[in-house]
């Protein structure tokens, strides 16, 4: 029953920005892996951190909490954090939690590099 492959995370550099692209599901079990990836990227202090959520088809509140934590760190360290590629399902979760205005949200990675 245990599924360790329900989340994969790709990290790449695009110019001055770091792009973290998780794919799969982010629930209570998977959120720590995303948290680690985001913290490692923030530790490198890029000028911009883009979280590409295009491949995320499920997100629960541990995923939201991880993103909020990353946002708080980014503000303390002067890193611009931008989310992009939110599917309708993921966007709905942001809306239920009333977080859609808390983050910078772009349609895709290209737009996120300049937002």
């Amino acid at each position: 029953m245990a599924d360790k492959s329900s989340l994969t995370i790709r990290v790449e550099t695009r110019g001055e920005a770091s792009v973290v692209a998780p794919a799969g599901e982010v629930g209570y079990h998977e959120a720590p892996a995303l948290r680690s990836a985001l913290r490692e990227s923030l530790d490198r202090k890029p000028s911009r951190l883009i979280v590409d959520l295009t491949g995320i088809h499920y997100m629960a509140t541990p995923g939201l909490a991880t993103l909020i934590e990353a946002l708080q760190i980014s503000k303390r360290t002067n890193v611009v954090l931008v989310l992009c590629g939110l599917t309708d399902r993921v966007r709905a979760v942001f809306e239920i939690a009333r977080l859609q205005t808390v983050f910078r949200i772009a349609p895709d990675v290209d737009a996120a590099t300049t937002l």
């Binding site: 029953m1 629930g27 709905a92």
Partner: protein, 167 residues
């Protein structure tokens, strides 16, 4: 996994539930429960958007049991039953989640202030936003029981909804 618990197993549903499972308080199982709840919701007649929301609410409820009820222990037991139910206000799905974890006064289970932007504490808010009826109760002896209901066609709020302060 370090747990003596076997895989979640199907049991005979005593109340005609479509699904009746027992699982360990191990977050690794949540992904499979989400898949199962998606199938149950669609079979009952929920569309994709509503199914996603019910799955989210159940996932949040189970995660809360693991995190708070069992305080992240992996070997606690959780029982989940899901069934089609017809109420005066319409047909829908009833989900009952029971555990043997720490008991709390149901009236103390509240959503937090969303204006306070910080990690954590959003699960109860999500559950209450999505489901039409949310009732927390203390089980006899130990543990909690959470009963959730979601109508197929969500119109007016279920008048029987009490805001989840039963027990």
């Amino acid at each position: 996994m370090g747990s003596a618990f076997q895989s979640p197993r199907a049991t005979t549903a005593p109340d005609g539930a479509a699904v009746c499972i027992e699982l360990a308080s191990n977050p690794a199982y949540l992904c499979s429960v989400r898949s199962m709840m998606g199938v149950v919701c669609r079979r009952i007649g929920f569309g994709d958007a509503a199914t996603s929301k019910v799955v989210l609410a159940v996932d949040e409820a189970l995660a809360n049991v693991m995190k708070h009820g069992y305080e992240r222990r992996l070997d606690g037991r959780i029982w989940l039953r899901a069934a089609r139910e017809t109420r005066e206000t319409g047909e829908g799905i009833r989900v009952v989640i029971e555990d043997e974890g720490r008991q709390v006064d149901p009236c103390d289970i509240k959503s937090r202030d969303l204006e306070d932007i910080r990690p954590g504490g959003l699960g109860v808010h999500i559950i209450r936003e999505i489901m039409d009826d949310v009732r927390y109760e203390c089980r006899d002896g130990k543990g909690m029981r959470l009963t959730l209901f979601k109508r197929l066609d969500r119109g007016a709020r279920d008048p029987s909804t009490t805001g989840g302060c039963v027990g």
